[in-house]
């Protein structure tokens, strides 16, 4: 697997799996405006998936399509970070997961708009507009619920404690990231982390939430070495029709 291909899978698998999770809320959110907003977020993420996995399939050059990559790989070939696999939990956990991912995603996409690969820069330029809106909305909601009632504050603090150990993986650099940086395809994750910490720190302060004093990070998603148990269950739903009726056109 080339580093470039693997990097594109990471981008596309993150948006695919998070889009899947967010879409599970359709019809079940606390208020209609959130049904609309979460469906819209999921829709953007699935649209971005089509672009990233579409490019990945081209780069791979084995005749696979974005749909083949989404629907016909098993869990160990997925390259998304563990955080996006986490179950939705309550609405607070969903929004906390969304904000932490959005804050990373925004910095990543901003960096990718000046990628040495024009196709990557093009996709990033389109996606960054959507993600600017996602992070504004998820950040405002984290603030509103963190600094809301005693109950909402407690739930949001619990959500932050739950999700925090999954932040580190997004910025943990490995051989793929090093090659992407040296070829100018993707930005330096250490630099992204600085911007992320400033952004997240400001939002959590407004939300009156305390960032856990721990740098511990679960890992294994972006390398594909060890996903959570949840990913397999996501795939059983997502891939079911394609697996049950191979070769059919939908």
């Amino acid at each position: 697997m080339s580093a470039y291909f693997e990097f594109l899978l990471r981008m596309g698998d993150n948006t695919l799996i998070l889009g899947h999770r967010v879409s599970e809320w359709c019809g079940h959110t606390p208020v209609i405006e959130e049904d609309i907003a979460l469906a819209n977020t999921a829709l953007d993420l699935i649209g971005q998936t089509q672009m990233w996995l579409g490019l990945a399939a081209e780069v791979e050059g084995k005749g696979r399509t974005a749909d083949d990559l989404a629907m016909l790989r098993d869990a160990w070939d997925f390259r998304n970070v563990l955080m996006v696999e986490k179950p939705n939990g309550d609405f607070g956990q969903t929004l906390m997961r969304q904000f932490l991912f959005d804050a990373f995603h925004l910095e990543m996409l901003k960096g990718l708009t000046t990628s040495s690969e024009p196709r990557v820069a093009e996709i990033a330029a389109k996606a960054v507009k959507e993600v600017l809106y996602h992070v504004e909305r998820s950040g405002d909601t984290v603030i509103g619920l963190g600094d809301g009632t005693a109950e909402s504050h407690e739930r949001m603090q619990d959500a932050l404690n739950l999700m925090w150990p999954y932040v580190g993986e997004m910025f943990a650099s490995d051989d793929v990231d090093t090659e992407m940086l040296s070829t100018g395809i993707a930005p330096d994750l250490n630099q992204l982390r600085i911007a992320f910490d400033a952004h997240v720190g400001a939002v959590m302060a407004d939300a009156t939430l305390t960032i856990p004093d721990s740098t511990f990070a679960h890992k294994g998603g972006k390398s594909g070495f060890q996903h959570t148990e949840h990913l397999g269950h996501i795939l059983t739903q997502m891939q079911w029709l394609q697996r049950a009726y191979p070769g059919a056109s939908w």
Binding site: D67, G148, W250
Partner: protein, 325 residues
């Protein structure tokens, strides 16, 4: 047709005002929220628009059931967009109802405790991917039959909501038919799914128009107020006449052995739905009534802390702004 069996409320207003009101409607004027209106007109509209709004919201559930299992990324995106539109339709309609002096929360509570209804169709399950096609083709198709004329309804905010909604519904119907085309021209298993979906959805779709006009004792007042624009049987006939050739084009069989073109009336003769089943569904005994209402109640109850939290935060911000001024 997301509003069924809407009973017109009796009105005991001054006959002169009533006559002047009727004259405005007959002249094609739109009634706006601040205008005088008979109490029966207001109450009937609240019930009808509310039921329509509830149908959009509950209607997210049978389609939402397939978002995570959509067979391709493209189909997933289209279905997400469609379900999002439905939530948006619910929102416009609740806003239209609010102009009549009822809040969205009041309407929601009436849905959740069973005082208000939603369309019977959403109490049927979606069992295969072909059902996503059939819902768009048949259910949205039936809804459009009713909603296109409602663009000319007498109540301004309702009419304007319908204009926006109809634009999106026609896209929904086309995407449904597109799914059916793929299935009907696909593998044997896909064809079987498509036929099975039509078999299950056909009669429930015919029920969407409500019982025969001969049995609908409440229609007349709503018709003269232009809250209801057409008779139930008339719309049902139009739907059958439009849909049968579409089924034939797909190579599917409408599950009605007595379906026959009638040259004399220029339309099809067809078997009506089983109205006992319809009334059973309305009474709460449809295949999914319990699940649908339980899902909406759970969403509302589980979301209480979110709504309270966001309200409390907004209040804190308002208080801080006041203190700063």
């Amino acid at each position: 047709m997301y509003a069924q069996m809407i009973k017109s409320e009796a009105t005991q207003d001054d006959p002169e005002r009533l006559a002047a009101f009727q004259a405005r409607i007959d002249a094609g004027e739109k009634i706006e929220p601040k205008d005088w209106m008979p109490e029966g007109y207001r109450k009937t509209l609240i019930r009808q628009i509310g039921q329509h709004a509830h149908s959009e919201i509950v209607g997210q559930l049978p389609e939402g059931n397939w978002i995570t299992r959509a067979p391709t990324l493209e189909r997933k995106a289209i279905l997400l967009a469609k379900v999002q539109d439905e939530a948006g339709h619910g929102l416009y309609l609740y806003c239209a109802a609010e102009t009549l002096g009822v809040t969205r929360d009041e309407l929601t509570e009436m849905l959740l405790d069973g005082r208000m209804k939603y369309s019977s169709i959403f109490n049927y399950p979606t069992l295969t991917w072909a059902d996503m096609g059939a819902v768009g083709w048949l259910v949205d198709g039936a809804a459009i039959m009713n909603q296109v004329p409602l663009q000319r309804t007498s109540y301004g905010p309702y009419s304007r909501s319908m204009i926006r909604i109809c634009k999106e519904e026609s896209f929904h119907q086309r995407q449904g038919y597109d799914i059916m085309m793929k299935m009907a021209k696909g593998t044997d298993a896909q064809k079987r799914m498509a036929q099975d979906a039509l078999n299950r959805m056909w009669f429930p779709s015919l029920m969407m128009f409500g019982p025969s006009d001969a049995e609908s004792v409440h229609s007349e007042q709503s018709m003269s107020w232009k809250i209801k624009m057409n008779g139930n049987d008339e719309l049902r006939q139009k739907f059958v006449d439009q849909t049968v050739p579409q089924a034939e084009y797909l190579g599917l069989t409408v599950p009605d052995p007595d379906l026959k073109w009638n040259d004399e009336k220029g339309g099809y003769d067809f078997t009506g739905p089983n109205w006992d089943e319809f009334f059973d569904v309305l009474r709460g005994n449809g295949p999914c009534n319990k699940e649908r209402l339980a899902a909406r109640n759970k969403a509302w109850n589980d979301g209480a802390w979110v709504r309270d939290g966001l309200m409390a935060h907004a209040e804190k911000k308002r208080a801080a702004r006041m203190a700063a001024e």
